[in-house]
């Protein structure tokens, strides 16, 4: 778990550096080697590692727009994921998806840029597993800002009514862009939403990967044993802005400082040390993750960009006969008057 966490942190620190290249001093979102928005998950690693440690490749994970830590813990191909974020041809989605839309069917990972909209597809994956008599489970990640969204609430209900093997994981980082949690909900925490759907709701109050692991053990086990869904909420911390370039004028400095102090990675290191793991082993894990990240980034940057014409491919798995995205016939000259 520690290796995933430290890989995710390293990875995002390196992405941040690459992303800011060409965007400084004046931040221009469309400049630099990494295009588009970038939402980093530094401070949320425990929620990814603690849950995904219980998952197999056949289990499905859907992540929201802040997906890298979960993708790493689920075993998404790091090189191809990086190539996708750099908009390269050999990326997971051939450069069509970008960082919010990573799909790796080899490990059943998908994500979506629309809030809470990963929940229904996770329910669908769980439904498929149940119908086929398989013991795989589905996990849907969402932020605490998403707990008011219909897609989430409807998914809780559907999963509960049909006893589906799905675990909903709320990553509570206290902020929905500029909205603090207390203006999103009047209940104390998101796990309480479970009560309205008659399924277990459990909250892990600290971003302690071991505590998350233990809570997830029960939730994933319950799903795998055919006993239905669980709603699990994990307190995490948003160390960065909502997206790169977010000046966070709405956020008290003290809050950002606190988020940085409550570091799940430091906490995990303390846990490992107190369990008798020596410093050199931890150092070795750190080095290995660092090398892996560098290798992925260097590989990705060497990959070719897609050819412009590839924009027209993949709209359909089975394109209808004669279909083109902008038919030539519509640009044929019309006649009817004097030129």
């Amino acid at each position: 778990m520690y290796e995933w966490m430290v890989t995710a942190r390293n990875y995002e620190e390196r992405l941040q550096e690459e992303y800011l290249e060409g965007k400084q001093p004046a931040f221009d979102i469309s400049a630099g080697p990494i295009p588009g928005e970038l939402h980093l998950a530094a401070g949320q690693e425990a929620a990814a590692a603690g849950v995904c440690a219980h998952l197999r490749d056949a289990d499905t994970v859907t992540a929201p727009h802040r997906p890298h830590h979960v993708a790493i813990a689920k075993g998404v191909d790091l090189k191809r994921m990086t190539a996708e974020i750099f908009g390269r041809q050999t990326g997971l989605s051939k450069g069509k998806g970008g960082h919010m839309h990573l799909f790796d069917p080899d490990v059943n990972f998908a994500c979506s840029g629309i809030i809470a909209e990963g929940c229904p597809p996770a329910v669908g994956a769980a439904l498929a597993a149940k119908k086929r008599g398989e013991d795989s489970v589905a996990v849907a990640y969402l932020g605490e800002g998403a707990i008011s969204q219909g897609g989430f609430l409807e998914s809780l209900n559907l999963a509960s009514v049909h006893d589906l093997p799905v675990v909903f994981v709320i990553e509570d980082n206290d902020w929905a862009i500029s909205m603090p949690k207390d203006r999103v909900t009047d209940v104390e925490n998101g796990a309480q939403r479970a009560g309205g759907f008659d399924l277990p709701g459990r909250r892990v109050d600290q971003d302690d990967a071991v505590a998350v692991y233990e809570a997830a053990d029960e939730a994933v086990g319950r799903a795998r044993d055919g006993n239905g869904p669980t709603l699990l909420e994990v307190q995490v911390h948003r160390r960065m802005g909502h997206f790169m370039g977010d000046a966070q004028g709405y956020r008290p400095d003290t809050d950002e400082e606190q988020a940085k102090q409550r570091d799940s990675i430091t906490r995990m290191e303390t846990t490992l040390e107190s369990a008798g793991i020596d410093e050199s082993t931890i150092e070795e894990l750190r080095d290995r993750s660092h090398d892996r990240v560098e290798e992925a980034i260097e590989w990705a940057k060497d990959q070719p960009e897609p050819e412009p014409d590839e924009a027209y491919e993949d709209v359909f798995a089975d394109p209808p006969a004669g279909w083109t995205p902008a038919p030539e016939s519509t640009t044929a000259e019309q006649t009817g008057g004097d030129d």
Partner: protein, 341 residues
Amino acid sequence: MAETESEGATDSELTMSRAMVDAIATELRENDDVFVMGEDVADYGGIFDSTEGLLEEFGREKIMDVPISETGFIGAAVGAAQAGMRPIAELMFADFFGVGMDQIYNQMAKNTYMSGAAVNVPMVLMTAVGGTYNDAAQHSQTLYGTFAHLPGMKVVVPSTAADAKGLMHTAIRDDDPVVYMFHKRLMGIGWMPAPEGPKTPVPEDDYTIEFGEADRKREGEDVTVVTLGLHVHRALEAADELAGESDLEVIDLRTLVPLDTEAVLESVRKTGRLVVVDEDYHSFGVSGEIVARATEGALDDLSAVRRVTMPDAPIPYARPLEQEVNPGTEDIVKAVRDIHD
């Protein structure tokens, strides 16, 4: 059809977002029934600065941040409007319309009709549209056609600060639901530089621009270019590039519902050639509609038609792919050359 006026040159230049906010602030001051609700509209001031600074003057009762729940808060705006208030709701990205679309097209758009006008829905639904910054298929769509296709909503698409302000005043005072679609690239936000053009002199006093009046942004003799939003500026760039070769007339539709068909017909009767430029998808949208109206109304005057549009493919992420599909100035130049060589 209106002509762009130059006499406003003494008025101060504003970004498009500032001009929109000015209009909203004036309406908030003058009418207690006006309020704003949406995600990140208060402390953040709108992700694209569409409500920048309003919280400070008007407070949280008037500038309401809401939980992420488009069905809930857009529907609540409909209910408040039916109760006689004048809400301005913001859907952060037009792409997110799916989450709350029932409230938009089955309630907001239809309640006036279904009630036999027993109730009406005087609200504004503001939303950001458009690509050009590699944000991929769920955050870059324009979707003018989707909203204009569904009856019951007026649809506004400003391209300059001066238009943005006048159209916003009209939208808030209108007794029907108005979808106000602004292109992110035109807003003048720090992290997404705008092209030359949208920042214009804006009169300080409030004024309205009537819906259904297209604006001839450039007068020309050879080819009519009909467009809206960001692509007004790309069309004007194309006109400069083609100077001496082809004299373009650029029509900015400004509103899709109602649509100024007469402005299009008047222009194509003069030039005989039509290019429609639209950042929305190619099929079943604005470009098809304009061509249909032009052929219905001026078939005998037309010698050639071209469409420059977003192809029927989701908008890709990687830079070379997005540049390929998003209609650029060069695509407009090429379309004009195709029909006027």
